[in-house]
């Protein structure tokens, strides 16, 4: 398992894979991770895994059949127009 470059580079890259796929790294930091991942099998796989993770989690949104319960406004109706004020802030 190739882990070229310093251990610091490797640990830093592993900690910033999510930032990398999110596009949150500054150009210099992105180049650092790119440079390390080019020769590091772990980090190259880590980038692919992080992309796949985000893709898979995004896929969890397929809840077309789920509906809100019919009773969702029951407490509102019970409170009526003169419902007590709350401390909820806008």
């Amino acid at each position: 398992m190739g882990m070229p470059g310093s251990t610091d580079d490797h640990q830093w890259s592993q900690q910033h894979l999510s930032h990398y796929v999110e596009g949150d790294l500054r150009p210099r930091a992105r180049r650092r991770l790119d440079r390390h991942a080019r020769d590091c099998a772990d980090c190259g796989r880590g980038i692919r895994a992080m992309h796949a993770l985000v893709y898979a989690v995004q896929g969890l949104d397929g809840l077309a059949g789920v509906r809100a319960p019919a009773a969702i406004f029951d407490r509102v109706r019970l409170a009526g127009p003169a419902g007590p004020p709350s401390s909820q802030h806008a």
């Binding site: 895994a49 985000v54 806008a90």
Partner: protein, 200 residues
């Protein structure tokens, strides 16, 4: 009779602004029409955060009650959707705090975690997807509530970082930090081998 709680946005004749104004004047029907447009999505969010349908139903009712009680204070500085979602996240966190003695028992059922149909149609992928779905559900359920909220809002709900941070009630930098921590933990829980096998 107000429309059933659903996902339909108010039409042109009933703009969101006019519904807000009527709801602030204590028109229950207008409030139900306004909030009902987001009810399905809000309920899904609560299912994601709480992992329990019965509790999500209870909290959803409480969210609507609190929104109704607080609608007079809505100033339009954020969208109504963002404001309503923020109440939902707060109420979900309140519910989770109540059961803090058993945080590891949160489970998100497979029914709440469906992959897109295109991925599910390939029979050879079904077993893999089913296993991934179960693993993702377990990994998300085991996250601390703040991290789970971040990954659900940003990755599952697909909200922008700005909007998700506003709903979570924190700054964008802090939100991103939580999101990255959440992804790292989920990645560690599932494993690179499984993730790269599925592809992305």
């Amino acid at each position: 009779m107000p429309p059933r709680a659903g996902g339909r946005a108010p039409d042109a004749a009933d703009t969101e602004a006019s519904l807000v104004a009527r709801a602030q004047a204590r028109d229950v029907g207008a409030f139900e029409r306004l909030s009902g447009a987001y009810a399905d999505r809000l309920f899904m969010l609560l299912l994601r955060l709480l992992g329990d349908r019965g509790e999500a139903e209870d909290v959803a009712q409480e969210v609507m009650l609190r929104a109704w009680q607080g609608i007079a204070r809505f100033r339009g500085q954020s969208s109504y959707f963002t404001w309503l979602y923020r109440i939902a996240v707060n109420e979900a966190n309140r519910a989770l705090a109540k059961r803090a003695r058993r945080p590891a028992s949160v489970t998100i059922g497979a029914d709440e975690l469906q992959l897109p149909e295109s991925a599910a149609q390939d029979p050879s992928r079904q077993a893999e997807n089913s296993e991934l779905r179960r693993s993702l559900g377990q990994a998300l359920a085991e996250l601390p509530p703040a991290l789970r909220t971040a990954i659900v809002l940003r990755d599952v709900e697909g909200l922008s970082t700005q909007e998700a941070a506003e709903i979570a009630g924190i700054g964008q930098a802090a939100f991103k930090s939580r999101l990255h921590q959440a992804r790292l933990r989920v990645r560690a829980a599932i494993g690179d081998e499984t993730l790269t096998a599925i592809g992305g």
